[in-house]
Symmetry: C2
Subunit: 414 residues, 2 copies
């Protein structure tokens, strides 16, 4: 028998119903924040993807030659496509843009808990604003989505790359990106290995640097002002974000955490990672500011801030908290027939459907008992009994399957 | 500058808004008919696709080797995937199943009007019923979708393959599938070429056969009964469908047209094609009964009937009839600031969003005039003016941008 490919999923009706509910909440929340939905193609030229991530990404994605000899790929992430879309129409688009999308992405990875080869990802971005208000909007829409999905056990760990960048410069660290990469791994590797990596990177005063990262909080961060421009700028940004979060009423969901750097090289300012409160699980999702990327794709200089949230980890998280929606489909009316009453069944179905109800009826000549079993299987809220006897009185019987309540209704009055 | 691949589309917010409206109508209509939504992976093993269409399909699709050496492909159609899904869970699924899906499909074809390399396709199918009522449900949901989308210029041309099959047997035609293929092309090729093909296929009495096809209508079809079992069965099926369509109130959108055979080999009973009333354009979409396919994919014998409707032709058709939705996004409230009022702007935004409104505000420190230009660009229905002066009175000003009406509101009463 044929099987689906490893790392892909089939969504049968019940699973799909739950997923549609989750995506609906996400869509509606993003729209309340003034974000508008876009979609890009699932396939792009490999050059576009490699432009951001380098040629080596080829090993981790689905890339192949098409019949015209072009190397194309299934998109592993959204940023290159959306940057291309902005560059392609930059003259017409009125900035700032608040865009979201829930595309599928594909990565050739070993499937494991929380990681699949084909997945959906919510991408939310603001293009064309450098303001900490834009940073705050991105954080706030993320928080609102979590709350509207019923999640409670989460905390946004907020940082700004420029703080660490400035701090590393204070200590004359030359390979800043390598230092970022190492510090990003701090909690994922043994301490000895971590310190060895720092030393190899030429960071002798690593203990002083780590001390600063660990001791800074939102109440004392101003004490670190006056060292250099990058640190000052990041402190200003973080204090602004904190203030805006306060005005907005979302500060309780956030904490300042300068140990957050995020591995990807392209972030330029505020960055964040979302963890469970006790920080027992790995990061749920994250994002940040990337002011140089759109320009690198051929667009005008366009500051940007956003995040990506995959559906696989989201589902795990929601199931852990017991807020994943019930996986159930339903129908408003099942019309059961008793005898030769097709004409009436079909005309009642038509009337109810025209009114917007979900309606079905027997398609396999079942007897009444088996019709009722099927009605139960497809979760019919009501069953309408259309029988020759009642029809002579011009009536049908409607039974509410939840309450058991029955009533006879004149056929003309449906 | 990077460009999207040929034959693919970007959906910018306005285009996406229109498309979302169209897909919403399609979804809601399918659900009223008791269909439930499913999704399958975008990638499948090539064997699955070739099982239905043969190895030659490789030339027309995106097929490639993955890193594990498996030949996989981007799905060019839905039937193989959905047949696999049914075979994979046949024990649990309570038939009949009424399923729909709006996946993306990919075909490596020369892009042209109505044909792209990446497109969406609505797939609607009933599995597990041989009844002409199921045939009628599929036709009816198709008609309802067209009507609910605002389309008027269409006619469903309904046939049954068994009629022609039986008729060809009467004339001792041996290669039935080749004969189907030729007759399917009748209106697409010059008459001489058509007749030559028929003669090559060993159909000497082609004129008698074509005479029958052309002269049969719903009122005289019973006269053709009694020739052979296949013809009798198809006549019974078509008369039943006609009767059910009558009960349902949709007969006016349908015509009996035995010249419809559909090219694909796997149809086994009722088939249909939808044309504009004058039949000036090529077929808009079509479908039919395919009772043997699921079994060929390793499932239990499962009669099936359904159709696929691509979004590219649908959009052309809707634009031609002037019923494609307006391509416009909007926002309920734009909050304009005058002076240092961030605290209030953010807290008003929070309140309105919590109530479900779409709200945004300035993220780029614009002056009032430029804020209003932006509000207009993003189609704000209302603008709230938050100014230091009014705030001293505890008030804000709300302007309805459609009517021009303004009112002062106490800030606590928003």
């Amino acid at each position: 028998m044929f099987q689906r490919l490893r790392g892909t999923r089939d969504f049968y009706p019940e699973e799909m119903a739950a997923r549609n509910k989750v995506f609906k909440i996400i869509r509606e929340t993003a729209e309340r924040y003034g974000f508008v939905e876009i979609v890009s193609p699932a396939i792009e030229s490999f050059d576009l993807i490699a432009k951001k991530s380098g040629e080596d990404i080829r090993e981790e994605i689905y890339a192949f030659e098409d019949k015209g000899g072009r190397t194309i790929c299934l998109i592993p992430e959204f940023t290159p496509s959306v940057s291309r879309m902005i560059a392609n129409r930059q003259k017409e688009l009125g900035k700032p843009l608040k865009w979201f999308s829930i595309p599928r992405h594909w990565r050739y990875e070993r499937p494991q808990s929380g990681r699949l080869r084909e997945f959906y990802q919510l991408n939310v971005d603001i293009f064309g604003s450098k303001s900490p208000k834009a940073d705050t909007e991105v954080l706030s829409v993320g928080i609102s989505i979590m709350l509207n999905l019923g999640l409670k056990d989460f905390l946004f760990h907020i940082s700004n790359r420029e703080f660490l960048h400035g701090l590393l410069q204070e200590y004359n660290v030359s390979d800043i990106h390598e230092a970022f990469r190492i510090i990003d791994k701090r909690e994922k590797i043994p301490e000895e290995e971590f310190i060895e990596s720092l030393l190899n990177c030429g960071i002798k005063n690593y203990d002083e640097i780590l001390d600063v990262l660990d001791s800074v909080n939102i109440d004392n961060i101003e004490n670190f002002k006056g060292r250099n421009k990058m640190m000052d700028r990041s402190i200003g940004n973080l204090l602004d974000i904190s203030r805006y979060l306060d005005y907005y009423g979302f500060r309780e969901y956030c904490t300042l955490d300068l140990s957050v750097v995020r591995g990807l090289a392209y972030y330029t300012g505020m960055v964040f990672e979302v963890y469970d409160k006790k920080k027992e699980m790995r990061s749920l999702f994250g994002g940040g500011r990337y002011d140089d990327l759109v320009e690198s794709f051929g667009g005008e200089p366009t500051p940007a801030v956003g995040f990506g949230m995959g559906d696989v980890v989201l589902e795990l998280m929601m199931k852990k908290e017991g807020v994943w929606p019930e996986e159930k489909t339903y129908i408003d009316y099942y019309i059961a027939n008793i005898g030769d009453v097709d004409r009436h069944v079909l005309s009642i179905a038509r009337k109810l459907r025209d009114k917007g109800y979900k309606v079905t009826f027997d398609l396999v000549d079942r007897n009444l008992s088996n019709q009722l079993k099927y009605a139960d299987k497809i979760n019919a809220k009501n069953v309408i009994f259309v029988g020759e006897k009642e029809l002579k009185e011009g009536k049908i019987l409607i039974k509410n399957m939840e309450t058991g309540e029955q009533k006879k209704v004149e056929i003309g009055k449906i």
